[in-house]
Amino acid sequence: MKINTTGWHKYMGLPALLLFATFFLLPFVRGVGLSLTDWNGFSKPTFIGFSNFIAFFSDERALRDVRTTVLFALASAPLLNLVGLALALLLNKGFRGRVVVRGLLYMPAVISPMIMGSIWYLLLQPKRGLFSILLERVNLSSEMNWMLDGNLALLVLVSVNVWQYAGMTMVIYLAGLQAIPSEHYEAASVEGATSTQIFARIVFPQLLPSLKINSITNIIGSLSVFDVILALTDGGPGYDTESLSIYIMRMSWGNRGGYSTAVAMILFFIILVPVLLALLLFRRTEGI
């Protein structure tokens, strides 16, 4: 008997759909439900409408954390792209030891951000940190405390994040650069194009898919930043460098399960909006 397999392909996506439903849709729907309750983590949740969302907008600490998170992302996401692109352009050229340099630059990305934060904390500590010891050796003050001021600490956090993930961004750009056929460069050279013209007319348009991936992942990664802050500043001094992700965790551990779920929903939209805007922008650019 011959089995008719026509139409089976329609069901090939079912396992993926099942996984998506189990690990995203169901928790999301459950999260929406919990965000409308006063659930404290163990008691029976009681429906309280939008009270958690209203409370969020009058919560000074939460609003400061939104500011911190957005500032971090505004600095981190573009910088990651710029540094990653610059490194990719440099390392796309042929020179001896290129592979080793690429490997070294990518290496920080495979280390846990928690460990990375702790390492940088040990390097930056006043008096005891490596940088302070080096400064002392050349008779400079070793008392500089990079984590004492909230703004300066945020700058340090952005720098560490860029240092860690620029290698990953670079690899994606490198893949894009290597996909550009060499004939395009040769033709442009024959036509007498300058290197700036080659970059603007040949390289950049063909790098758009890489830029798209890097922009979206960096926006998501920066707006949901967690580990590096926890290890380097623990959100301090006070709550000056606390991100919204850390706030959600602390509210959850502080027996405010319903409220923390509501904040998680808000963070979801804080991430979703720029991602959608970026996608829209790329769609228009690609359509040109």
Partner: protein
């Protein structure tokens, strides 16, 4: 032929018997009971595993499933939320007591052996019953470098002014050393300043039972003009402004605090006796050089204080199906020889009156301080949402200069306190 048939019958019977033997044995063998024990005591994991093995050898019918988690209080919340409450736990909070998570231990026989003061601290104020039992007493106060104090002729400060003057003397005589070291990045260490120095004032003024009730009823005013919190903030700012604390007090860690004290670079730290083992591990030569004393009152007219509280608590789940087996295990762990070992391992005095142990290098100082000065407890009745991490962060902001006046700090603390109920 008959003999041959008989042999066959015997053989068949033997085979049947062999097959039936396991069934018979299963019917006679007693069922082994498993009890789940969940602990958050990092320092004693290996020791407890050893004791559990010993217990299981003595009681082959009971298996103790031991689980240890570093972040035990949070893991316990998850366990409670998912209905997987362990039979025995070391994690006890007022919130869980209020929810009826723990069994009433008031009638247990071991209370006859526990110090009455510890039994009082284990008593739930709402019900007057005991839902937890503590096997040890912990103490918190000022640890000081004995050599430095001896060299400068310093002794326990009786007032705030004397305390400041002691630190100033250290700073003058040893400009390269830090008089008082704070590890404020680990904000709980700063939170303990509030717990010891500020809450301690209320505990001394009202006495332990009345202060516990006042915390429970939210009857303490923290932001009174010229009140406790203003004095407390003023005191910390004085230490900062006179450069008597480390310049990186907000960003240094608890590890830094231990290291700098162990190396002799710091003269005084505010800690609990849990720090002693780590200091000695870092520098065994400190053994005869660790002094322990009280902290002065930040409010004038009160005695110096020392934290003397219950430690190493145990509770049983109210829903356990194996209460007898659990009690057998607890009675084993609470036996005098095992508690002697535990006390020496944790470097803490035992709460059992029949246990005499050589628990640590500050034993004599601890005895003297507890007899001489006001004893305070942990603020277990403080609002459930208030964590030492949150209060520590307020102090980070205070030391950073975020509050224009001590009164603003007091207002912020009151706000945090009220919102945590």
């Amino acid at each position: 032929m008959f003999a041959h048939t008989r042999t066959k019958v015997v053989l068949v019977l033997l085979v049947i018997l062999v097959f039936l033997m396991p069934i018979g044995a299963a019917g006679t063998k007693e069922k082994r009971v498993t009890i789940r024990y969940f602990s958050g005591r990092v320092e004693t994991v290996a020791w407890e595993e050893e004791k559990i093995a010993e217990f299981e050898r003595l009681h082959p019918d009971i298996k103790v499933e031991f689980e240890f988690q570093k972040d035990a209080s949070n893991v316990m919340k998850v366990k409670v939320a998912s209905g997987e409450i362990p039979d025995i736990t070391t994690v006890v909070t007022q919130e869980f007591i209020d929810q009826g998570i723990y069994a009433d231990l008031s009638d247990a026989a071991f209370w006859n052996r526990i110090l009455p003061s510890v039994k009082d601290l284990c008593t739930d104020l709402r019900s007057g019953r005991q839902y937890k039992v503590a096997t040890n007493v912990t103490m918190g106060g000022l640890f000081y470098n004995r050599d430095i104090f001896r060299d400068l002729g310093l002794s326990d400060a009786q007032t705030w002014q004397e305390f400041v003057s002691n630190l100033e003397a250290i700073k003058r005589a040893y400009p390269d050393k830090t008089p008082l070291f704070l590890g404020g990045k680990d904000s709980w260490t700063l939170g303990h300043f509030v717990e010891f120095w500020a809450h301690g004032v209320v505990k001394q003024q009202l006495g332990i039972p009345a202060s516990r009730q006042a915390f429970l009823d939210n009857a303490v005013v923290w932001d009174e003009p010229g009140g406790i919190m203003e004095h407390f903030a003023q005191a910390l700012l004085e230490l900062r402004d006179k450069r008597l604390i480390n310049s990186d007090a907000i960003t240094a860690t608890y590890d830094n605090q231990k290291e700098t004290f162990a190396s002799g670079d710091t003269a005084v730290i505010n800690q609990g006796m849990w720090v002693v083992g780590d200091i000695l591990a870092l520098n065994p030569a400190m053994e005869g050089n660790i002094g322990f004393g009280p902290f002065p009152s930040v409010v004038p007219g009160l005695r110096p204080m020392v934290l003397s509280a219950e430690d190493s608590v145990w509770a049983i789940s109210a829903s356990t199906e194996h209460k007898d087996e659990v009690m057998t295990f607890l009675n084993f762990m609470f036996s005098a020889p095992i508690q002697k070992e535990f006390s020496e391992l944790r470097s803490m005095p035992s709460a059992f009156v029949d246990v005499t142990s050589d628990w640590g290098v500050i034993k004599d100082d601890a005895k003297r301080v507890i007899e001489q000065y006001a004893n305070i407890n942990f603020s277990t009745e403080a609002p459930s949402g208030l964590s030492v991490d949150d209060t520590g962060r307020l102090i980070q902001k205070l030391l950073k200069g975020d509050y224009p006046t001590p009164a603003d700090f007091a207002t912020s603390y009151q706000k945090l306190w009220d919102s945590s109920y």
